[in-house]
Symmetry: C2
Subunit: 170 residues, 2 copies
Amino acid sequence: MSRARTAPRPVVAGASAPAEREVVEFFVHLGKYLSLPRSVGEIYGLLFATGEKLTLDDLVARLAMSKGSASQGLRMLRGAGAVRVTHLPGDRKDYYEAEADLPALIRGFLRDQLVLKLEHADRRLDRLRTVVDDPGNGAPAGLSGRVERLQSWQNKARRLIPLASTFLKL
Amino acid sequence: MSRARTAPRPVVAGASAPAEREVVEFFVHLGKYLSLPRSVGEIYGLLFATGEKLTLDDLVARLAMSKGSASQGLRMLRGAGAVRVTHLPGDRKDYYEAEADLPALIRGFLRDQLVLKLEHADRRLDRLRTVVDDPGNGAPAGLSGRVERLQSWQNKARRLIPLASTFLKL
DNA sequence: CGCGGAATTCAAGGCGAATTGAACTTTCTG
DNA sequence: CAGAAAGTTCAATTCGCCTTGAATTCCGCG
């Protein structure tokens, strides 16, 4: 019982409005497809749902997660440009709000994740060709050709990226 | 030490030619990006590397994995069209070979996985709108509009799929 | 039918990634 | 400069997915 306050202090994650909870879950699922940890989806979801600037402690309270998770999740979101930090005049808390320009967010993600992975795949493919083309490694007949085709498809995929970027920009 | 046999019975995964092992590892990594279990990458990798028709028991022996894993991995690969089953005349074992037409494979993956996920996302978004637009659910002001934008972006993403398909087809 | 080899199923266990929470660092304030 | 408030770090724990292997089902054949 104790004190009467304006907001009914949510004890459990999303004990707030159903709409809020729903949005949070939506982003959790979306994040799962990108293999992001649940906490990250929750944080972004809550920021997106409320549209307000919230502090780390707000997130901890309203999502019922640990400070550690919130801190790490926010770092990831900052890194991805999905979230903006602001400050209030006489207050040293960090205030976070969702970056509302989703296309920019998606482009950032594509750039950072996909291109990075393609570069990595490049190196692996080169290495693979070296090993396969070395006669001492017992590559079955025809394998060399198949690996080459692999490479040509990978190049096609790479050419697709900028195309996708511009398309999503609109 | 028992019996002398033609092939030196690999005790450990990929105890065969280095080239083979390398190809297997390559597909394991590739699979990781698509968050497929390691076993799936291994199976497809070995089939791709050898270019032969192999039975479940071959896979179990040469990759040192359990029958259960092999069975489930093969099911997944069959479902994705990444692998073809054939039969030999007087033999009731299933013989598997890698689907060599990678573009088809990629298209299949896009169709099965991505479209499926988009449909799922569709349903989720519809649900989300319903909840958010219900006045009883305490949606903050402006949320409805943000959710709408979410939907428009999702539509753009969907329009990107066929484009990607044709592009990869060449 | 019933036998036997081939494949699938699924409960239990293993393993790696995510989360927690307490210790720590930093920075402001009186 | 002491104290507190904000945030970060990281070792220990938890949790969920993947694998295992034994039991079960499936199927063709005598």
